[in-house]
Amino acid sequence: MSLTVILFFGFVAILLLALGWALWEPRERRKLETDPRSLEERDQRHVTYFPQIRQALAPADYDYLSKRTSSGVQRRVRRERRSVALAYLDALRGDFQCLLRMARVIAALSPEVAAVHEFERVRLTARFGWRYQMIRWKLLAGFAPVPQLDGLSELVSGLSVRMETAMKELGERAAAAAELASSMNRRGLDVV
């Protein structure tokens, strides 16, 4: 097969794959809340649970258990910690998607957008998606032993503080964002 044929067929195959992806509406997107105010509430819910997650991942708990319980219990704890880590990852992704959605709504309803901000968001989304999947697969496959996840507790508390600060900054603008999202609904630009 000549190079020209490969190049043209390959390009068309990529185009058709991209077309299929662009036309496909993921189930999770369809299921997402239609109320734009949920964007903010959802974000706040995760922040509320951060202390519990921190507790669940605390190294002291694990040390205590390893001295006083059987290996079966330790295995169960390890399994549960893994699920906590996965749930935390999912929460991060949820936060990310909520912010992303809000940014897209704002961009769609703005008279002008800056290419640099839009491209940065695309870059951040691609990077986040890649890292998220890699870490998730490692956790699911058990390549990341549970003690290694202990560092998550520090990350969680760090994130909690920084997100609270960032949320204060965004607080003034939350009302405007909710208003614009409902305006978007009225105009047929679907939040779902």
Binding site: L19, S110, Q148
Partner: protein, 263 residues
Amino acid sequence: MIADPTQFRQLLWAANTGVGIFLLVVLEVRRNYRVYPAFTFYIVMNLTQAALLYATYRRWGFSSVALWRVGWGTQAVVVCARALAVAEVCRHLLGRYPGIWALARRILLACAALVLLYSGLAARHQWKLALVSADRGLELAIAAVIVVLFLFTHYYEVQANPADRLLALGFCLYSCFWVLDNTILEHYLNGYAALWIHLQMLAFLASLILWTWALRKSQTETAAQEHLLPLGIYQSVTPQINLRLRLLNDQLDKIWKQEVTRQ
């Protein structure tokens, strides 16, 4: 059963012309020509091309130089009309959102230019194939522009009018088929040219049916821009959101780096 390829080609020709005329009637009856003037012009140009080709074919035959000249001459006009119709569909899909439409326009133009360049580099450089290569490049650019347009609507979650979506889909699928068809024809199956012409005509017939279905109801003019946000909101909120996205990315980076260093 039709055994004669010439007879089959004439039948397809008649079917394409018939459906094309029917589409034109639908555009007129539903007053959709007001909403899609460039698309209507494209269909008119297509029918004119078919009529001219048929007249030339009847007068001078299938392998004549006259048919070749008329074919490629009219094809240039038809491809330009196609490009205009595609631009119109793009405007319909994103025109209500001036911010992202301005960005999309630049990206779509850049994308078309890059695909044309790619086609030029990937094609076999022979003078006798120059027209085929140029035509294929334009069709590939049209397909790429529509795919990027759909990616835009997906990314910004823009709810597209079903008629616009179907029109764009028809253009894209036909352009993709055209590119594949011409590539195979150019390389391997010159001896079976008639077969590939039949396939191309069938693909166009499918697109015509899709477009007729899309425009079976009256379409309204694209809604004017309304309830846009003041520019200040984008300028102040977007950097904040991007900052928070970066913070979330940093969290993942820390987990990732921790695991990599501990392994």
